[in-house]
Subunit: 355 residues, 2 copies
Amino acid sequence: MSALRNDSLLRALLRQPVDHTPIWLMRQAGRYLPEYCATRARAGSFLELCKSPSLATEVTLQPLARYDLDAAILFSDILTVPDAMGLGLYFAEGEGPRFERPLREEWAIRDLRAPDPHDHLRYVLDAVAEIRRALDGSVPLIGFSGSPFTLACYMIEGEGSDTYAQAKKLMYARPDLMHHILDVTARAVTDYLNAQIESGAQAVMVFDSWGGMLTQAAYLEFSLPYMARIMAALTREREGRVVPRIVFTKGGGLWLEHIAACGCDAVGLDWSIDIGDARRRVGDRVALQGNMDPTILLTTAAAVTTEAERILASFGQGSGHVFNLGHGISQFTPPEHVSALVETVRARSPAYHGR
Amino acid sequence: MSALRNDSLLRALLRQPVDHTPIWLMRQAGRYLPEYCATRARAGSFLELCKSPSLATEVTLQPLARYDLDAAILFSDILTVPDAMGLGLYFAEGEGPRFERPLREEWAIRDLRAPDPHDHLRYVLDAVAEIRRALDGSVPLIGFSGSPFTLACYMIEGEGSDTYAQAKKLMYARPDLMHHILDVTARAVTDYLNAQIESGAQAVMVFDSWGGMLTQAAYLEFSLPYMARIMAALTREREGRVVPRIVFTKGGGLWLEHIAACGCDAVGLDWSIDIGDARRRVGDRVALQGNMDPTILLTTAAAVTTEAERILASFGQGSGHVFNLGHGISQFTPPEHVSALVETVRARSPAYHGR
């Protein structure tokens, strides 16, 4: 592997000095880019795009060709793990993800097994390796997975939902079964992320998209402990460097101190929390990643610049900040507003690092 | 008017001693009750139900006939105010609310006027008076309105949305226009709530359903100050009693100290915050209302009881707690689970009040 030329992301995630605040964007390879839409049309479907290592590599690199970003993130879907568990992921035309066989019966839950990622998720590992070769040391590659609780929500519900009432019903009525699903899924996610690291991922992120729907008591029982278990079991070093871990619970701002203590190196923040307040609450325990409201990218370049400057100033001096959005980028984002964002962070952030 | 026989709600909202923790439920008159569905079928539509004082009275009283609740809440919709402003509220079959004339043009925004509730919202005031007569002093009646920011979201978007991207775009691109909408709407809400109080509402609540989608900076600029302005202009006493005010921002837990300082008597909490933590944060500044996850009502009576006891214990000893859900009750709630909830709070809460 080529030596890493821009290691600002890895350094900032470990709160080591950097010369600028690194930036990448959740879902940076996506439908707001015409070149992404062209590749996806060639692939035939979103799932075929995910399952083709060469096409996944192509779209992973597209935003890096346009913007001066400090990291690539594996192009994939969080539902590849339940798919590998045999639930049968598919995408109905114009709809979100669905499972052919959602977890509804106790026997199906008892039968759940953690898949060997080298068998069932080979296409992801091949994509990781191919992206690493293509990046050729320019910027680091982030691997990722959904959190056990978030995956369980989809697995039980069988599709996206505003309330995940089926999942919550199971959780409250049969906590034993919920814990069983989470236990198996946490092992699956651990193996999956370790396989990504082994294949070349230089940092990893766990997306807890739905943990924020829980009460604090339920979050501390059903979501966070399983992420903590994953953190404790991840490969710590690879290629002579620490592999930093990021945990992101959307809507988890109230529980920040708990999340910061789960064994992660960095906490992802949605836009509802002031990042300066978040920093005061976590102190030097973890780095912070975030947290611009992605809707601002729909407005004007001037508003984007103002808000990016506000967030940099709110975090303040020193390392430990990775600039990002507070949620995935909208498909309706004008690509030139992303330029305004990246250029602002590049131009303004060195002042916060003694430059 | 008859003397109020059960004033536990009004006392708890003002943190005065009570003998049990009062309970009512957001959207307690609703589709989970077969008698509500029957009345609604008779009305023809949801909007006709809202606009008929006698039918609105009928459904307002239905949950009180079934359950030992400590308050009635006016049956109405938060969008009656923009409707009275001329935006043309309608409900497409099987869809949420829509406006015929959403606010999209600067001239339409500049033309916006606060309606006189005695002219344009007479049907609501008539319902308030009729409900008060029907309650005959049994429990107090809560009036309500949407918050200026939440109403503005619907008015700009023209319908419900996951992201209210149009509203946020206007807010970031033309903050002057957004402030104009909010200013007019805050005056409209003030007049509307004061007219409800004059007609017999004994407590009022402002629902800020969408303020929680904002960044903290935007919340403190575009949502909270307009609620504070309303608080400062509401009638404080009526019929020889203080009229308590409740403010509820769903997803506002991070900003609790700010909300508690807006001039309200009580803060509504969604279920994401631990109510004991919330109490420690606000001290004796305000009462707290909440905060059970409504999804728990879909599970089992045993789970409902356990969770209700947990919330009572988390708040702890003393007055200042009004038991409620953290969001409106689901239409899929089995009515007998509501019985389990109300009975648990009635049976267990006196121990927290020195009984």
